[in-house]
């Protein structure tokens, strides 16, 4: 049994896997494990690159492996190597949903895409106060992704935010966009983390006002909300703290109509009818 360290980028893993294929190392004889977890056998040195023609596998299979690689799970490379091995030995279906391994691989790909989507949807930026003109930063965010999606999924924000300079810190890694280029660091520098944590504590009354007004208490359906937006993201949004109160008020009977409580408390104003209801409204009726 050969035990290899699983602390790898996809490209580094692919080099190892290619060498192992050349050596004819079957999936049962190789395992990638966390280096900090003591193993019965101890770690083996990485395989030599070896010589000879590279084993041929369908390009779509390699693409699928690359997409599944960010999925964070102990022993993540073992499934990938099994699929690669089977693909290299003529099983061209090994990465497809109809196959047992392929179906597990596709589930990982789906989860990775979904997590990238979560980043794009639920991350919240906090503008950096203008008091420090030296600070090369306009926007700050803290996010806790479940998979290793940050390096590529954060590119979305460079398309979205133009020349604005932003920083995203996570428990494992971080990315800073300086207005032209992104700088990725793993692990996340402690100074970045400190900045982002500070930003996370800030409130946004304007957004929370909008959120509370947009909610229609007559249609209360917290189950649907929970299904769409997992609690781990709600906890990091300014509106998260309003949800229990909105739900409780709606349950207490405010759901007889759709108006927000704060709006109902303001003085109302019915308006005059225009002169004839059939004629088009006179110009200047309501300046």
């Amino acid at each position: 049994m050969r035990i290899l360290s699983d602390a790898l980028t996809f490209d580094a893993w692919r080099d190892q896997a290619r060498a192992l294929l050349r050596q004819g190392a079957a999936p049962e004889t190789v395992s990638w494990e966390a280096p900090d977890r003591p193993s019965l056998f101890g770690l083996s040195p990485p395989p030599d690159a070896g010589e000879g023609p590279a084993p041929r596998v369908p390009a779509a299979l390699v693409a699928a492996l690359r997409q599944a690689a960010p999925y964070r799970v102990a022993g993540r490379w073992n499934l990938l190597y099994r699929v690669l091995w089977r693909g290299a030995h003529g099983e061209r279906q090994a990465h497809l949903p109809g196959d047992r391994d392929g179906s597990a691989l596709q589930r990982r790909i789906k989860a990775v895409r979904r997590e990238a989507h979560h980043l794009h949807a639920f991350l919240r930026f906090q503008p950096v106060a203008d008091d420090d003109p030296q600070r090369p930063l306009d926007l700050l965010a803290w996010f806790e992704p479940a998979h290793d999606i940050l390096p590529w999924a954060s590119e979305h924000f460079a398309d979205r935010l133009g020349r604005r300079r932003w920083l995203i810190a996570t428990p494992l890694d971080g990315v800073w966009y300086d207005g032209e280029h992104s700088h990725y660091h793993a692990p996340c520098p402690e100074s970045w983390r400190a900045l982002a944590r500070e930003a996370r504590r800030q409130d946004d009354p304007l957004w929370r006002t909008y959120y509370r007004s947009l909610f229609n208490p007559a249609r209360l359906n917290p189950t649907a909300m929970q299904g769409h937006m997992p609690a781990r993201f709600r906890a990091h949004t300014p509106e998260g703290r309003d949800i229990p109160g909105l739900v409780a008020d709606a349950r207490r009977g405010a759901r007889r109509h759709g108006q927000a409580a704060a709006v109902g408390a303001l003085p109302g104003k019915a308006l005059r009818a225009p002169k004839s209801p059939d004629a088009p409204p006179p110009p200047g009726a309501l300046k």
């Binding site: 979205r160 937006m229 200047g284 309501l286």
Partner: protein, 408 residues
């Protein structure tokens, strides 16, 4: 009045419009450019409110002052609600601020009718122009179109907005006369026609510069209020089907009438069951994606059943077509099996090129197997209940009973 208070009033006034789509915009981005915003065709839901609806756009009215007196509307002129009005600059600033913080993917702006339809439409266009031209905003913009406005103004709006919508509100001339006397079906259809013609002309224009913004690239949509008048599901679905065919609408939204404070006597005091709205969306989906006709979904009925979904209801009326052999049936027919969607139908057809379809494949594709089971034959499955009569089968397949509402 400060901006926070205006926002409270004008978001509350806008929430009865169900549309929230931010999809269908052309691909564009701001990397390395002045300005802000991108779109790649798919929408993003940035949050969800406790009613289960998604928040993808800043959805507000420019003002809720209104000359009209539509009975179902919280902003009708005789309604005793707080009134407010944003300036175009305030809306632009709010949009950019919320966008930068990643709360929303754009703006959905509507308005009460003030002074005149033309004046109101001009104000809406002004906000969109401000965002696009002054602020280099490339996010999503959805503008509500005032039906009685000059077609030239609608064409202008279409060059700034990704999507336009004209709300039909009620499916019949009579319903509008009773509840929305200032609105006319003719005017609403004319505005839809203007947008449709503009889109067609734009697509046919081969000399169009690629730099010139396209004409409402996200298409147009509309909304019908369900349960404010006596309109049947048949009338609603027939109307939707006509609008899809005639004006190539992207979506028809159905909004269950929400009771409003100080409700006038002309509209119901209680809402229709939310399930009715849900069944209409399901039926609408079958019209748009599955090639169903309204008459197929309703047969001799005026209303869709509430206890089962419209596709299951159709299948129960056509037991002669079932059970269907998934290893032989054409894809279109597989998509008509209850519990099997179009995507799954396609995957099953792909799969059977390699091997025979088995029942566990339905499980793996996450079909609703409890619904599909009595209607399908696979390599290893023949339904035991194929001989069951439709009434008994229906009792077996009804959706879980819904919790009684406060009004029952």
């Amino acid at each position: 009045m400060d901006v926070t208070r205006k926002l409270a009033v004008l978001a509350d006034a806008a929430k009865y419009d169900a549309s929230c789509a931010s999809s269908g915009a052309p691909r564009r981005g701001s990397r390395g450019k002045a300005g802000l915003g991108n779109s790649n065709g798919t929408g993003i839901c940035h949050s969800y409110t406790p009613d289960g609806r998604c928040v993808s756009l800043l959805k507000i009215l420019l003002t809720n002052f209104c000359l009209y007196d539509c009975q179902y509307c919280v902003n009708r002129r005789s309604s005793d609600v707080p009134r407010a009005r944003f300036t175009p600059e305030e809306v632009a600033r709010l949009t950019l601020d919320f966008y930068e913080r990643n709360y929303v993917s754009g703006l959905f702006l509507s308005s009460g009718i003030i002074r005149s339809p033309d004046y109101t439409m001009e104000q809406l266009v002004r906000v969109a122009r401000l965002l696009r031209e002054e602020h280099g905003f490339r996010g999503y913009i959805h503008l509500k179109t005032i039906p009685e406005a000059d077609p030239a103004l609608i064409d202008q709006a279409a060059r700034f907005a990704d999507r336009l919508s004209v709300n039909i509100e009620l499916p019949s001339e009579r319903g509008l006369r009773d509840l929305a006397p200032e609105k006319q079906l003719g005017g609403i259809r004319r505005a839809m026609g203007t947008i449709h013609a503009g889109t067609e002309a734009d697509q046919a224009d081969k000399s169009r510069s690629p730099k010139r913004p396209r004409y409402a690239p996200g298409g147009q949509s509309t909304q019908m209020i369900v349960g404010a008048d006596a309109s049947s599901d048949r009338l609603i679905l027939d109307t939707a089907d006509q609008l899809y065919r005639r004006f190539r609408l992207k979506r028809v939204y159905y909004s269950a009438f929400s009771p409003i404070p100080n409700s006038p006597g002309t509209v119901p005091l209680r809402p229709p069951p939310l399930l009715r709205e849900h069944r209409l969306y399901q039926a609408d989906f079958l019209l748009r994606g599955y090639g169903f006709q309204p008459a197929e979904l309703l047969a001799d009925n005026e209303q869709l059943p509430l206890d089962i979904d419209p596709k299951l209801a159709w299948a129960l009326r056509h037991r002669d077509l079932f059970p269907l052999d998934l290893n032989r049936a054409p894809r279109e027919l597989i998509g008509r099996v209850p519990g099997i969607g179009l995507r799954s139908a396609e995957r099953l057809v792909d799969l059977r090129r390699h091997r025979r379809v088995r029942f566990e494949d339905l499980v793996r594709l996450r079909c609703v197997v409890a619904k599909a089971r009595p209607f399908v034959v696979t390599a290893d499955h023949r339904p035991r209940d194929a001989g069951l009569d439709s009434g008994a089968l229906r009792r077996q397949l009804v959706d879980a009973p819904v919790q009684a509402s406060l009004w029952d």
